[in-house]
Structure formats: structure tokens, C-alpha cells
Amino acid sequence: MLEKGKISNNQFILIFVISRLMLTMAYLPYVNAPPWNQDLWISAILAFPIHILLVLPVYFLTNRFPGQSLIQSVETILGSWGKIIGALYVWFFLHRTAVILRELGEFLKAIPYPETPIIVFITATALFAAYSIYKGLETICRVAEIVAPLVLASVFLVFIMIAKDVDIYALTPVLEDGIIPVIYGGFVIAARSTLSLFLWMLKPFINEPEKIRTTVVLISFILTLHLTPTSITTIGVFGLEQAKILNFPFFHLVRMINIGSFLERIDALFIGFWVLGMCIDIAIHNYLAVLSAAQLLKLKDYRPIVVAMGTVIVSLSILQAESVVELNEFLSYKVLTWYNLFFTFALPLLLLIVAVIGKKRIDYK
């Protein structure tokens, strides 16, 4: 076994929720996606069932191949051809880490540090990710266990503190363009999630795999619980058109907080928590990249490749896009939705069909 640690279901919930929330907290890309109107909050609620639906193929696959991670079960299904699919997934995690790293750097460069070169933030965070990977999965999850409740609590505190500034009429008219764009929007939101791949990679290390259904539902629920108020407050405070223009809607929302002119300018605190959360987000994605590569190459220990992978990720995060505009182009619903969907849903579904036809499965002892 490459990883000897075990994580609890709660840790899995927290580590996924935090890795999903952090980008939303800065960028909130959904504003510029279907349904393009004030019904975003309905889409956020609709994303809840769709999100669960998209996990189903992987759920059945993990049940069919218990104790095997993504890379291992792909190889069981396809034999040596599975290496190619496995390599694709390694690339996916690698690239995703690079994207998140770049987004962290771009945010820090845009708001608090206009003059510092972006490579400083990226290298520092990548170093942290490498350090925590050396310490193992258990350590990453325990850090998430400390940070995630803090982040979640502070986000909900933000909702409460900004509530008095929300103009609820900005959300009307409801269902202006009909239900179809709203459902599409919900689909786009759900498709951004990589829960199925987290589940596939980490299920062998979860200590109560039989409770995974509750875990998945809880994750989707927490995400909805976060995204719905986020969209309501963002649109309610800024109005739809302003929210679309803002680069970092949620961050500006935090800046708007002013209670009795003594509780204000808490954006420093927000940046602090955000950086902490992003560190974990990057660490777990980097960990998945390293673990999947090690499983693909059948290494006995993943530690020797940590630094090498980290170097690749840092270079990739710098080279992948000229500017934040180019990066956002990739992250927009037009590209990322389908790119993600291919890895999280389509490919697993195909593999599931192949496995069912080929009658491949691993039985419990």
C-alpha cells in the first residue's frame, strides 16, 4: 500500500467541501454562466440532485471494485490499455493543481500584492503542498479538520453580517426566462465538481466505506447550503450586472461589510482564511496527482516523486495561461463544464459499461 493512513468520513466531507468552496469564495464563476439572470440561487439548489446523479457511475464502479482506487480499477477493467486512461487522470489532477495554484496567485496579485511577482506565491504554496504530502493523507485531512470549520463558520458569519444590505427585489422576477436555463445552470454548477474523482481515489482509505452514500449526500447538501446564500447575497448586494463585471464578487462582498462602522474591513481576515483554505485545496489536489502517478507507475513509495511533480506543477501553472483572462476563458462554463464532465462522468460511465459487459468485478472476501 502506498498510503497507510485512514481517514474518517467526516474528514472526507471536510476535505472535499473545502477544496470545492475556496475557488467559489474568490471567483464565483457561476455569475457568468447560465441562467445569466437573477435565478442563480435556484440553479444552486437544483445542482444538489444533479451533483449526486453525476457521482453515480463512480459510485457503482467503487462498489464493483472495492479497495481499488481510480488508477487500479481502470487497469483491472482495461488491462494494460488502462495505463493510458490512468495517465489521462494523472494529467487531470496535475493540471487541476496547476490551475488552482495559478488562481491563488492571480487573486493575491490582483488584490493585496500588486507588485509581487506571482511565482513567489505559487512556489511558496507548492512548497507547503509538498511538505504536507510528505506527511501523508492523514495529516492533510487533519489540517482540513481544523481549517474547514473555521472557514465554513466565517462564511456563514459573512452571510449574516451582510444580510442587512441585501436587496431582495434584485432577485425578481423569478424564472424570467423559464425553467430550462435554470436547470442548465444547475447542471453547469454540478459539473464543476470533482467529487466523483475524489471519491474514486480516496474511498480505499475511508474507514467507513459503507456509509459513503450519506457522505455524498451530506457533501452535496453543504455545498448547496453554501452556494445558495452566496448567490443570493452577491446578486442582492451588487445587482446582477455589477456582479458579472466584478472579478472577485465574494471578496468584494466581504469588503462591503460594515456594521455600526466599527465592524468593517474584515477582508484581511478573509484573505487569511482564504489562503489557509487554498493551501489545503492545493495540497489535496497535489496529493491526488502524486498518488495517482505513483499508482500508475507502481511505485512502492510516492515520496521520491513529490518534488519532481511539484516542479512540474509550478511550471505548468505559470505556463498554462498568459493572463488571468486566458485562465478564466478555460474556467468558463463553455470549456470547463465539458472538460470536467468527460473525466468525472463520461469516462467512468464508459468504464462501468465495459466492466458490466466484461463481467469484471472484485468480490468481497
Binding site: S8, N10, Q11, L108, P112, Y113, T116, V120, F121, A124, T125, F128, Y131, S132, K135, G136, T139, I140, C141, R142, V143, E145, I146, V147, E264, R265, D267, A268, I271, G272, V275, L276, C279, I280
Partner: protein, 535 residues
């Protein structure tokens, strides 16, 4: 390449270990006593040559059959009055008057003396020469008899000891004042008086090749986890040190992560604290010669819990505990945040505050980072000087520290007044969690450095590193940050708040799985209800 190095290293270590083991076994060769008294005497005099504190006394026992004998003891380690009254007098005078004298012959002397003459409680027979020497050096008195290859070891220990006094390190307003002393036996008696239970075990060991220090492993059988007790014994028996002068020596040989700046072994000077920790399933290690008792496993949150939390009522105790967490964060982060906010993120300060800070820093020659580092280091120097200096001079240090470095530096325009405020706030806060205040200093200076380089981002990256490091630590198998990460929901209630005692009806699950239930779950006092029942 790396593997090859590792192999070489392992080979090297194992060959060394083998040598060590051989060395050890050669030391333990039996060295039996002779039945010739003179031979024993010369041998023991040879061992104790040039040691002026060793006392030999030769005499004869019995009136019909006279048996030559001598005693050996270390002057100063025995109670001489007892030796005279209880040992010498009974052997030389009382025996003559009693009937026993008639039964005495060459063969049964030892037995008769052991069973019927010596009115002392702790008497044992020893055959090995080396063992006799060890006993004598620990303060026992050895009695040798002509014709016997056995020595009688009599415990007549008595030496100058410090009284049980209130310890200086853990001061309480409410709670017992007594503290452990340097004498191991006094310390164990203090614990025994707290826990009157046969399950309280004191297992004895000797550590230190030169010092032969007595070490006692104390635990409550049935509560403490056997695995942890075994692990403590294993680690202690592996210590092959020359000397154990303080329990700190032991701590450094048994800790889990010697390369970490955080302590993973706890210590206390107070019997009530150690007793409480043992009742939660921890194991205590008492060392002769020091009042500091080690407790393992040690968790991070123990620094935030004091004995007084549990002796006083829970409401204010909970508030104080939250204050301690706040103070900890202030003492770790305050200077770093000040540096980060004044150098990088001025826009995040409220305008009025920004103006007053800027006005105070007007004309100061150094950047905030240099100020913070210099003040931090000066504070550490003052602290160290305050501890080391003789008491009359200590006053001078505080005057120099407060006036010259605080007041004058500000009025001379060398250092901004806000920095002095921040540093003094930090200094005071760090003593709220006194037991880890040394690690706070390390963290504080590191954070200031990071804040100077990268501002808030630097602090947060540093926090992520420290958090990861702390989370990855273990103390005797228990995760260092335990009830918080990984979350142990049952134990979480006694972390940030201090619940009612009747609410804590179960022991912490972290240290032990044995005998988890302390008491009935519903012990909330309800006098009204009880009264009606009585009617």
C-alpha cells in the same frame, strides 16, 4: 544511491548496537560474595578506596559463640541515630540479654539476626557483591557476617531533604499547595496520598550508567492503557545514557519527535495535577533528584488546561480558558500581524488607527520588521537576565528594561510606541500559557520574519506549515492535536470550555479504552427533588 546509503547506515547502526549489547552483558557478570569476612572487607574497601564518606565498623556478635561482623554505609545518607539505636544496639547489647543468644551458632546466625533480632522493617539478603555496592551507594546499610556469603541490607536511610513546599512554577489560588520534592519516596507518597487505591502502581527502574538514578513509572492499573505502559517501559529501558540528572534528560530520550520544537512530554510539579492526569489514563514518570514529574502522552491542549479550572466553578473557568486561547494567539501572531499590516496592508486598518500609528512611527529610523525583531530579541534577553540574575540585581533589570528600553527608546524616537505596546502585550500574553511559552517565542520570531517577507500571505503559509507539523506529531501513539484534529467528539467538550464535573462522566477516549465510565451519567445535584423524596 539513497538506498545504498540507507543500507550502509543501517549496517553501521546495527553493528554498533551489537557491540553495545555485548558490552552490557559483560558488565552484568555475577560477582558472588565470599564467606570469608576479611576477604569481603578488603574487597569492599578496595572498591570504596579514597572515598572519605564511607564508614566501616567492625564488631562482634554474641557472647558464647562470637561471630565477627562489620557494617558499611555512606555517611550522610543514613540516619546515624537509627544505626546506633536500632542496628548496633540490638546486635551488640539486646542480643546478649535475650534468650536468642544461647541458640546462636555458626550456621543460624544470619537467619536469627534476620528473623528475630533486627527490629527494622526493610531488611533483605543479597548475595552479589555488585548489588551490595549499589545498595550501599543508594543509602542502605550493609551488614556482613563471618562465614556467610550473604549480606544483610538494612534500610536506615535518612538524609537532608527539602520540605514539601508550594512549587514556584505552578501557582494556584485555589487548590493544594504541596509540590513534589527531590526525594523520590516523598514524591510517591504524595501521589499515594492522593490516590488510595491498590491499583496505583509504582514500577521501579534504574537509569544512567554513572548516576544509577531511580526512576518510577506510575500508573493506575485498569485505567491506563497497557500498550502505553509497555511503550514507556520499552523506551525507558532503551536509555543508555551516562547520567540522568533531571527528568528533562529522560524527556529528551523518550520523546516521539526530538526534531520538533514542540514538547511531546508533559511535566508537572504538583501531585494533584499528576494524579488527575493518571486518572485520565496517562502514565507518570517520577525521577529521583527532581520535583518535576513527566506525564505521557502529552497533548497540545494540556497547556491550556490548569488544575484550577476544575477546582473552581465552571462558568468563569470556561471564560478563562477561552481567554487563554486568545492570549495564545495574541502572543504568537501580534507582532507579525503588526508588521504585516504596517508594511503591506495599510488599507486594511481603519483610517483613524492608521493615522495614529503613522504619527507615532513618524521619524523612527527602522522599518517595522527591524523594530519587531530587535524588540523581540531584547525582550528575550531581558527575560533570561531576569531569571538568572541574583534576586537583588533583578530589580535593576526590570528598571532598565522598562525605563531605558521602553520609555527612553520611544521618547528618543528610536522605536515607535505601537511596537512597544505590541511587544509588551505579547510578553504578558505568552505567560498565560506558561508551559509552552518557550515554543511561542520561536513561533513568534518566525512569523515576524515571514510577515516581513510576504505580509499576511507569509503569515498564513507559515500557519499552514506549523499546523501541518503539529497535526503530524504524535505523543506515545496519540495524535498531538487530538480532540481537535482528528476530531474526537466525546472529548471535545473539555477543550474550549470546561463543562460541569457531573457532565464529564466519561474519561477521555484518547489515552485508554479501559474503564471509560467515571460515574453515573446523571449526577446533576438537585436538592429540591431529593428533599421531596425523603418526605
Amino acid at each position: 544511491m539513497l538506498k545504498w546509503f540507507k543500507k550502509l547506515h543501517r549496517h553501521f547502526i546495527s553493528s554498533k548496537l551489537k557491540q553495545k549489547l555485548e558490552h552490557k552483558t559483560s558488565e552484568k557478570t555475577p560477582n558472588p560474595l565470599s564467606s570469608n569476612l576479611q576477604e569481603n572487607l578488603t574487597k569492599i574497601k578496595e572498591v570504596f578506596s579514597n572515598a572519605s564518606d564511607i564508614v566501616f565498623r567492625q564488631f562482634e556478635i554474641g557472647s558464647h559463640t562470637r561471630i565477627k561482623a562489620f557494617i558499611v554505609y555512606v555517611d550522610g545518607l543514613v540516619n546515624e541515630e537509627f544505626v546506633q539505636m536500632n542496628l548496633m544496639k540490638s546486635l551488640m547489647i539486646d542480643m546478649h540479654i535475650s534468650e536468642v543468644d544461647d541458640e546462636l551458632n555458626q550456621k543460624n546466625t544470619l537467619n536469627i539476626i534476620h528473623q528475630r533480632i533486627l527490629t527494622l522493617t526493610e531488611v533483605s539478603e543479597v548475595n552479589d557483591f555488585q548489588e551490595v555496592v549499589e545498595h550501599v551507594l543508594s543509602g542502605d546499610t550493609a551488614l556482613f557476617l563471618e562465614g556467610f556469603a550473604t549480606a544483610l541490607i538494612v534500610n536506615l536511610r535518612g538524609w537532608e531533604t527539602r520540605n514539601v513546599t508550594p512549587p514556584d512554577t505552578e501557582v494556584v489560588v485555589r487548590g493544594p499547595r504541596e509540590g513534589f520534592t527531590e526525594t523520590l519516596r516523598t514524591s510517591t507518597s504524595l501521589l499515594r496520598r492522593k490516590i488510595k487505591n491498590p491499583n496505583l502502581k509504582f514500577e521501579k527502574m534504574k537509569i544512567g550508567k554513572q548516576t544509577q538514578t531511580d526512576v518510577v513509572i506510575a500508573y493506575i492499573k485498569g485505567i491506563a492503557d497497557e500498550k502505553i505502559v509497555e511503550e514507556v517501559k520499552r523506551r525507558l529501558s532503551k536509555i543508555d545514557a551516562d547520567a540522568i540528572l533531571e527528568s528533562g534528560y529522560i524527556e529528551q530520550y523518550i520523546e516521539d519527535s526530538p526534531l520538533s520544537f514542540l514538547p511531546t512530554v508533559g511535566n508537572s510539579e504538583k501531585p494533584d495535577i499528576v494524579a488527575a492526569k493518571m486518572l485520565e489514563g496517562r502514565v507518570a514518570i517520577l525521577t529521583d533528584g527532581t520535583p518535576f514529574v513527566l506525564t505521557v502522552p502529552y497533548l497540545f491542549i494540556e497547556a491550556f488546561q490548569t488544575s484550577e479550572d476544575y477546582y473552581s466553578r465552571p462558568f468563569y473557568a470556561s471564560i478563562v480558558r477561552l481567554l487563554r486561547f486568545t492570549a495564545y494567539f495574541v502572543s504568537v501572531f501580534a507582532p507579525a500581524l503588526y508588521v504585516a499590516l504596517t508594511t503591506y496592508h495599510q488599507e486594511m486598518l481603519p483610517p483613524t488607527m492608521l493615522i495614529s500609528i503613522a504619527a507615532a512611527r513618524e521619524g523612527t529610523p527602522f522599518p517595522a520588521f527591524v523594530e519587531a525583531m530587535v524588540m523581540g530579541i531584547i525582550y528575550e534577553i531581558l527575560k533570561e537576565a531576569g531569571i538568572r540574575l541574583p534576586r537583588p540585581v533583578g530589580q535593576a533589570v526590570s528598571i532598565v528594561g522598562a525605563l531605558v528600553i521602553g520609555e527612553s527608546a520611544v521618547s528618543a524616537g528610536l522605536i515607535g510606541a505601537p511596537m512597544v505596546i505590541v511587544v509588551s502585550l505579547t510578553a504578558i500574553s505568552s505567560y498565560v500559557v506558561a508551559s509552552i511559552s518557550d515554543t511561542v517565542s520561536i513561533m513568534r520570531l518566525t512569523y515576524v520574519l515571514l510577515a516581513a517577507f510576504l505580509g499576511l500571505f507569509g503569515i498564513m503559509i507559515g500557519a499552514a506549515f506549523f499546523l501541518t507539523h503539529m497535526v503530524s506529531l504524535r505523543s506515545f501513539g496519540v495524535p498531538y492535536l487530538a480532540p481537535i484534529a482528528p476530531i474526537v467528539s466525546e472529548d471535545l467538550k473539555d477543550v474550549f470550555l470546561r463543562p460541569h464535573l457531573w457532565k464529564m462522566h466519561k474519561r477521555p477516549k484518547l489515552f485508554t479504552q479501559n474503564d471509560l465510565v467515571r460515574q453515573e451519567p446523571d449526577l446533576m445535584p438537585n436538592p429540591m427533588k431529593n428533599n421531596t423524596n425523603n418526605k
